[in-house]
Amino acid sequence: MNRRDLLIGAGLAALVASGGAALAQQPVVKIGYQLPLTGNTAQYGQDFKNAAEIALAKFNASGKPFKVEIVFEDSRSDAKEGIAIARKFVDDKQIVGVLGDFTSGVSMASAQVYKSAGMPQLSQTASHPDYAKISEWQFRNITTQAQEGPYNADWMADQGFKKIAVIAEQTDWGQTVVSNFADEVKTKGGEVVFSEFFNRGLADFRPIITKIAREKPDAIYTGFFYEDGAQFLKQMKQLGLTIPVYSTSAAYNQKLIELAGADAEGMHLTATFLPSNPAPQVQEFVAAWKEKTGQAEPGQFPAQAYDAVNIMLAALEKAWPEPTREKVRDALAATKDFPGVTGDTTFDADREPAKKLTKAVVKGGQFVAVSN
């Protein structure tokens, strides 16, 4: 080894050492994530957390000038808890953006805190029409029933269904499922012959199903999540009813098929995410999800959470250096054609995402995209 090599070696070593030091001192930007990690809706929150960790690990490993840390807080899907968490996040001066919550109710309760404190909030699932209207600080990464309801009504009208029964869960969200859908059915000359709400987690749908049967509808439109959906479909088959069932993207989850088995066959719904989509970012997410959770393919909700986290991370990057809550908000508002796993996302002037909906049907134990 001659002197020149030695010099280069020493230089390289110094470079590695200084690089390492820079890595160790890399600045950290914090964001908050409020979501249900315990309680009746914990399964959704756990999915969001897994999706967020996948997105975060990828971001932090990609050699950005700063690291991001996500502070997860458990809201139990309780509005009171949500507000307490919102106050905590607002008080932490290091937190420049917030993700969550899961339900529209809790998201909207917390939004009041974020509105008065000026904190950008991006919910992956809050689909109540009034959520994004609360203030310029609220964003969401989910299609609302204002888009899905008419879309489904048109789909069903195209199939020639005139008399339609509607049931939905008794929540803010469930109300929007019914109202948005029913308005479009009337415009298309159809008729809603039966409409009723049920309490989420209802064990026995048979009294309602019997009532629906009496009205002899051509088809049933439903606003439920996969657990209630599985119960409904099973009990419908028990009673021997074979009316076509349509639903929203909220029911889109592989667990629905797992719980209801063959009784789920033929159910129609809309979705913005299909794990079979060959797009590289979708396949990358599906693979990472399977590896991290050991579960089957992710449903639509974790996919939305994954995109929401990535949109937030991209906004942080845009706001860098010295990200503030204002700069992150402005960066979020400027989100345009963000290539996510649930399609390209652009926020319009009302901070609403426009997404492309896919029609799907359960066939052979799988959600399959269909053209009509």
Binding site: T38, G39, N40, T41, A42, Q43, Q46, K162, K163, V166, Q170, Q175, V178, S179, A182, D183, E191, V192, V193, F194, S195, E196, F197, F198, N199, G201, L202, A203, D204, R206, P207, I208, T210, K211, A213, R214, E215, K216, D218, E227, A230, Q231, K234, Q235, K237, Q238, L239, G240, L241, T242, I243, P244, K255, E258, L259, G261, A262
Partner: protein, 335 residues
């Protein structure tokens, strides 16, 4: 319900192809209002049986201790999860699953008694035995155990519905003329009848039963005549919890819904049935559970189903105001 108009026009459109032809209720001859009401009654009966199954063990324990065991709903949950674990691991026939679940239930009951109830009986002087405060402290301790157990199950299994092997569900339809019931209805009816009959036999004809009744009607007196009250109470918990656990797995397989908070709603319904039945009368609780099931199902004929839960609370309030000793309280023996 803004923007919806449930117009009730029944024009006869030729859409019979959407209906299952073989069953009376949904056959092409609709509308037949009688069939509709019969079907709702059948559903009410099966709801009532489900509540009764839970109410039997609940009432037995109340009868002896004179205090509500808030953890009974969790015994029900534990029974369902134990059954599910056995089914996934060994796939034995239903009767074996039931036996294992009953054994787990007995253990859970004994453990529950040891943790939440025994410590409040450690003083055996007369003042402590008569003290309401000592007795009612177990309201809190049993509630605490129920929260810990529920959260533990949630940490272990997650809060979502567990996947139950579909062929093990007790929901194959059975057609009875115009009415459709499922196989689980028959099984639950038989099990509830066996439980009720067996329990009456045990209480009236065996030594354990006699001492349970003695402790139930006068714990201090029972102690004075030499009955081992501690052991009797443990027996009561074992028997009551066996029934709770069996109810859990049966109802879990009946609906295909096994999840950590599954015991909450049936617990409330069983509580209402118990209060209506006079707090300590088991046959009274069973009859009231059936009344409750029927009423809920009939109520859904007239009002939206979101209001059906109000039926139970309405009954509770009416009972407390007009029949403070329960509809079947007053004249009857305890237990």
């Amino acid at each position: 319900m803004a923007g919806t108009n449930p117009a009730m026009t029944l024009e006869s459109v030729g859409l019979e192809n959407h209906w299952h032809e073989s069953r009376g209720l949904f056959g092409p001859n609709l509308p037949v209002p009688m069939d509709y009401y019969l079907q709702q009654l059948a559903i009410g009966l099966s709801l009532g049986m489900v509540y009764a199954l839970m109410a039997i063990g609940f009432t037995l324990i109340f009868g002896v201790l004179n205090v509500v065991n808030f953890a009974h709903g969790e015994v029900y949950t534990v029974g369902a999860f134990a059954g599910l674990v056995v089914i996934s691991a060994f796939a034995p026939p239903l009767i074996v699953v039931l036996l294992v679940v009953v054994a787990v239930g007995a253990l859970a009951g004994v453990g529950l008694e040891r943790i939440a109830f025994k410590p409040f009986r450690r003083f055996s002087d007369e003042a402590s035995l008569k003290s309401r405060a000592m007795r009612e402290a177990t309201l809190m301790s049993s509630l605490a155990v129920s929260i810990v157990v529920r959260e533990a199950v949630e940490i272990g299994f997650g809060s979502q519905f567990q996947t139950v092997p579909l062929d093990r569900l007790l929901n194959s339809p059975i057609s009875l003329g115009p009415v459709t019931i499922v196989s689980g209805d028959v099984i639950i009816l038989v099990v509830a009848a066996l439980m009720l009959g067996g329990l009456q036999y045990v209480l009236k004809r065996t030594n354990v039963g006699l001492s349970i009744r003695a402790v139930s009607s006068n714990p201090l007196g029972a102690k004075y005549v030499g009955i081992n009250t501690d052991r009797t109470i443990i027996w009561t918990f074992a028997v009551g919890s066996m029934m709770g656990a069996a109810a859990g797995i049966l109802v879990g397989l009946y609906y295909g819904a096994i999840f950590p908070s599954m015991g909450f709603i049936p617990g409330i319904k069983a509580f209402v049935a118990m209060v209506m039945g006079g707090l300590s009368s088991i046959p009274g609780a069973v009859i009231c559970a059936l009344i409750l099931g029927f009423s809920e199902s009939i109520a859904t004929i007239f009002v939206p189903s979101v209001w059906a839960d109000m039926v139970a609370y309405g009954f509770l309030i009416v009972t407390l105001i007009f029949f403070p000793r329960g509809i079947f309280g007053g004249a009857r023996d305890r237990v």
